[in-house]
Symmetry: C2
Subunit: 222 residues, 2 copies
DNA sequence: ACGGTTTTCCGTACACCGCACGGAAAGGTC
DNA sequence: GACCTTTCCGTGCGGTGTACGGAAAACCGT
């Protein structure tokens, strides 16, 4: 019988796969946050039995590791250019990915990043700074300074955003947070960051400070 | 009847209190990690019924918030001195607290730090940098640069440490991590950090880079 | 075409979780 | 002794991750 008339039924190749699971996990994490990712919910989204997932994944931890490396892969490689611009571009993308997927910072704080995409992106930062002239222990420290700054910054940014943009009582909680800070922190000027939420500018300025410090260590060139 | 002869029995004042709960929570988190903190386990450690805890705390989230601010309170205020030394001392203490309580970075990545101790310690960093001569937006960015660096650094450090110092198969996993990195990362020099674990030196060097960048922004003074 | 092996799927069950509810016990006040 | 408030907590509900073992399907040598 022709393929056009045949009852196609369920596809003949395995219905599940690691890729499908990871893709669904990312979608679920984006939609519901880390608390919303349960193996049951994940399986339901794939129209599969819960235990079927375990054919492709040893544990929920595996799913999280894979989902994390998957979204890290969204960071596009920056083209060639002056090292500072390359780094600013690369790290801005880091930030954007973490903003798109707000569950990422909490995961990176828990596990070492050993996935292929994570290693690749880290290597890019290394080579950018090595190209600038750093090496050895100083190179290692500079890489740490910028990447940890970015991770930490976006983690805090997301936490604030989540606390302020809570679904209900939006305005009231915002007001309460602000009052809480006003009562306890002396420098009101620094609050403007929270008040106006110029997170982009603060991010870039902080990054610039760090890059200044790195630049000062470069072997003199003129 | 004299107090010496009276049967003292269970104390007559409330057996539980918020302080006792928080203290036990910190001890439990230190001993078993975040996964080991359940309301049942916490109550058992206090020889109380599970639901008794809810007389003093609205939810498990509350317990985590309180435990976090409690250990942040362990950071001792640094005495007066040159701003760089004050900051290095303060932030080194930040790191030590997070090393003593490895569950802290994951929590800070999830929630805004609004507790009294957190606000106080953050204010100290602010005033140190304000005393150095920064203000306004630059001050805010500089505070972010150093604190996020510290948080991120220790989070990564703890994650590595946990992955390598896993209870069983210590040496074998260590070897496997190392081989994994050697296969995927070009610059072996940067691996010395992992190999020898000179986390102290790397931490201080990275911090120095950032402080250099901050110092360059200070209004000229001589 | 068929028996046997391997891969894929998943229902059931267990031990654990946070916490809503409502009642028991104890202390304080007239 | 009656009443009220605070403290304690047993029970139960709806959720979790995943071990286990069996059913179903796909593949393969004959």
């Amino acid at each position: 019988m022709s393929i056009w008339l045949r009852e196609e039924g369920p596809a003949r190749k395995p219905r599940l796969s690691r890729e499908r699971i990871v893709e669904a996990a990312v979608a679920l994490l984006d939609a519901e946050g880390q608390a919303g990712l349960s193996m049951r919910a994940l399986a339901a989204r794939l129209r599969a039995g819960t235990m079927s997932l375990y054919e492709y994944v040893r544990s929920k931890e595996d799913v999280l590791d894979l989902a994390l490396d998957e979204v890290i892969g969204e960071i596009e490689p920056a083209g060639p250019g002056p090292w500072r611009e390359v780094l600013v571009g690369q790290l801005t993308q880091n930030r954007q990915v973490m903003r798109r997927h707000p569950w990422v910072p909490a995961l990176t704080a828990t596990r070492p990043l050993l996935g292929p995409n994570a290693l690749d992106r880290s290597r890019r930062v290394h080579t950018a700074l090595a190209g600038a002239g750093l090496s050895g222990f100083e190179l290692s420290a500079a890489v740490g300074a910028v990447t940890y700054y970015v991770n930490g910054y976006v983690a805090a940014e997301n936490a604030w955003w989540a606390a302020i943009r809570t679904p209900e009582a939006d305005a009231e909680i915002r007001e309460r947070v602000y009052r809480h800070l006003r009562e306890h922190v002396a420098e009101l000027a620094t609050l403007s960051q929270v008040e106006y939420g110029d997170f982009d500018g603060a991010f870039l300025l902080g990054l610039d400070l760090i890059l200044d410090g790195i630049q000062a260590r470069l072997p003199a060139k003129g």
